[in-house]
Structure formats: structure tokens, C-alpha cells
């Protein structure tokens, strides 16, 4: 076996070893990524908010700022544990609706407002806000100092 042949075998061995090392590294990297992704999902699942409140739509639009705005809203809430819950709004003291021994509920109603309204989920006879959402007001024309609303008529 001459020197060149020995070198060739050695080079081939080195190349094979290099390929094996790189391949192993890539496999290790992919495995780590899978573990991380799975862990994140598991973490998210284990740490999901115990209470959720959603509102549809999130905005009411009127023609002019300050006008009463009419919108049909739907509030959906969900809790991890069944209990007695109520939905409140910032414009009245009494609850909009209450549920007994429930884990979820839906509230629908036409709302008339000229400023934003805050909705919240609380347990019965508790002041602690478990979840909240806001209905925002929007408008096409902003009020201006010039009272003769040119956009309206002239």
C-alpha cells in the first residue's frame, strides 16, 4: 500500500467522520427544536388564562363625533371552573346578566352609547375583575370649533 493510497484511505475516513459528525449535529439540532416547540405548546396549554371574555364587534362607528352610536354586541365568556358569574358594564352598577354554576355564557344586546364602554366578568358578589373588554367609539367626522358643519350641508 503506497503513501498516496494510505492518504486516500485516511482522507476518505476523515470525510466520512466529518459527514457523520455534521449529520449527527443536524439531527441533534432538529430534535432540540422539536422539544422546544412541544414544550412551548405544553407551557401555553398549562398556563392558558383561566377566564376569557370576548366582544364582537369591538367598535361602533357614528357619522359625527359625540353622536349616539347603535351597535348589536355579543359578549362570550369562558371559565376553567364552573361557578356563579356575572357580566358588568361601566355604565351601570347592576350586572347585565348572571349565570349559575356555569363555565361559559353568551350575552347579546343592542347598545347605545357616545363614549367607550368597559365590560367585565366577575364572580357573583365579588368586585374582582376576572376578565374585561372594551367597546370603542369611532366616527367619520370629528367635532370642530366651526359649528357650521360644512360637511353636513354646504
Amino acid at each position: 500500500m503506497n503513501l498516496f493510497h494510505k492518504k486516500s484511505i485516511f482522507s476518505h475516513a476523515l470525510l466520512s467522520q466529518s459527514l457523520f459528525t455534521h449529520g449527527f449535529n443536524y439531527l441533534l439540532l432538529i430534535s432540540l427544536m422539536i422539544v422546544l416547540i412541544f414544550s412551548s405548546s405544553l407551557y401555553a396549554a398549562n398556563n392558558q388564562a383561566p377566564f376569557t371574555l370576548t366582544i364582537t364587534p369591538k367598535q361602533c362607528v357614528s357619522v359625527e363625533q359625540g353622536q349616539d352610536c347603535y351597535v348589536d354586541i355579543e359578549l362570550n365568556w369562558h371559565a376553567e371552573q364552573a361557578n356563579n358569574y356575572c357580566v358588568f358594564s361601566s355604565v351601570q352598577k347592576e350586572p347585565l346578566q348572571c349565570w349559575t354554576n356555569s363555565r361559559e355564557g353568551t350575552y347579546s344586546k343592542e347598545v347605545v352609547a357616545n363614549s367607550s364602554i368597559q365590560f367585565s366578568l366577575r364572580q357573583v358578589k365579588s368586585t374582582k375583575v376576572l376578565a374585561s373588554q372594551q367597546l370603542d367609539m369611532a366616527w367619520v367626522y370629528k367635532k370642530s370649533a366651526r359649528r357650521n358643519a360644512s360637511w353636513r350641508m354646504f
Binding site: 367598535q59 362607528v61 357614528s62 357619522v63 359625527e64 353622536q67 349616539d68 352610536c69 347603535y70 369611532a138 366616527w139 367619520v140 367626522y141 370642530s144 370649533a145 366651526r146 359649528r147 357650521n148 358643519a149 360644512s150 360637511w151 353636513r152 350641508m153 354646504f154
Partner: protein, 286 residues
Amino acid sequence: MKNKMKTAALSLVIASSLITSSLTLAQENLSQNQSESDELTKSQLTEDDFNGGFLKIGYGYKTEISPYHSEVKGGSLFVNGRYQWEGLFVEAFYGANERNEGLSIGYNFLNTEQWSFDINTVLAHGEIKSEIFDTDKIFYQNFDSTQMVGLRATGNFDQSTVQFMLAPYSLNDELDKGVYASLWLGQSWQVKNWQFHSSLGFTYRSADILDHYYGISEEEASEHFQAYKAGSGVDITGQLSASYPISSSLLFESYIKYTDFASSINENPVMNFASKEFGILVSYVF
């Protein structure tokens, strides 16, 4: 007689400006004497508070029957806007919900709780360009539009609006006499998120203006278009419109407008029918 009327109108404009300027000074003195705890009222607002404006561009379908141009039926662009800076303003009204008076520039010199006073230009009459063949003669109508300058007062009372305009000065070299005046009444009301608006307008043009556009001299008269001298007259316009907000920038609009022209216009040999307009569009408000 006409010169006396024009002089009287000029005197009225000047006197109104002087009186309202005095009122402005008086209001400023009054506001200086008020305590700081007083609630801010419109009389204490500065010119900065009136700076700004709006721009609305819309596109939709429009039909218009008018004696001044061929029938319009189809897609149409609508542009409306106003901008004011340090009292100076420019207004552009080409479209729905407005009087479609074109471009106007002016100066807003006084604002009170309910009223705004301006000196500005107004389109007293649009251009007329036509040729009418009658037997052995061609009857030409070739008149430029007439812009006039005058005093405008606009009052706002909750959902009602009233506007007066008196313009005794013409910027048209071919028509240096004449008086234009108008009175507009508007009322808005809201049903759910719909905004409805109605307006009624009375537009006066003196004999000088109407005879310039609709008079036919003896030399111009032909077999079917006899000589005619137009007197002063009042057009009456009624408009109904509805708006609905699609989003904070998009507005759905629809309107219908009808104009009954003055008898001195309808009685001229060339044209004698009313103007009708209908439009339905979506506008983007900047």
C-alpha cells in the same frame, strides 16, 4: 336705480363688516375680564381652534337632468372639502349632500356661539355654451361662469342650519353689474346610525344677471326664438340625503335634488325645464 341698489348692497356689506369687527373687539375685551375658572366658550376660542378642515372623495352612480348640459347617467366622482388657516379658507363642493357650488375662497372674520361670518366668493351662475340652429340663423349662447363676492352668515342651532349670502360684486368682466343673494335652510336627524338631512334653498339673481344669460336681443332673435328680456328671479332647490358610516373613514351616501328655476328663466324661448339629480356613492373621508 341699479347703481343705487348696488351702492346700498355695498354699504350693507361694509357696515356689516365694521359692526361685526367691533363686536369681535368687544368680545375680546369681555373675555380678558373674565376669571380663569370660567368654562371655555366659543368666544374665547382663538383662530387656531378654527384652523383645519376636511376632505371627502367619493365615487358612485349619478343621474342628472339639467338644462345646462347633456344628461348625466353613470359613474361619477364627488369631491368635497374645506380648509381654513388663520381665517382664510377655501371650499370645494362638487357632489353629494352639498349645493355643488364649485370652488369658493374667502375669509372667516367672526365666529359667535351660533354664527359664523365670512366674506367669500360664490358661483352666481355657471357657464352656458351652445349653438342652436333655427331656420336660416344660428343662435349662439356663449357665456362664461360668473363668480361674485359678498358676505355670508351661517347659523347652527342644534340640528338646524341657516345660511344667508349677499354678493353685490361680480368678478366677471362681461357682467359687472348685478346682485346675487341666497337663503338656505337645513335640518338633520338621526335614526340609529343613519344620518338624514333635508335642505331648502332660495337663490335670487338680479335682472342684470339673468338678462345677461337668458336675454335675447333683437339682433339675436330668430324665427322661433323671439327677443326676450329676462327680469330678476328666484330659483328654489330642495334636497334630501342619507348617510351611513361603513367605517371611521368610509361613508355611504345617497341624495336626491330638485331645482325649480325662476319664471324669468323658464319663460325664455330657449329653455324651460327643471333640474333633477340623484346619486348613490361611497366616500372616503380624510
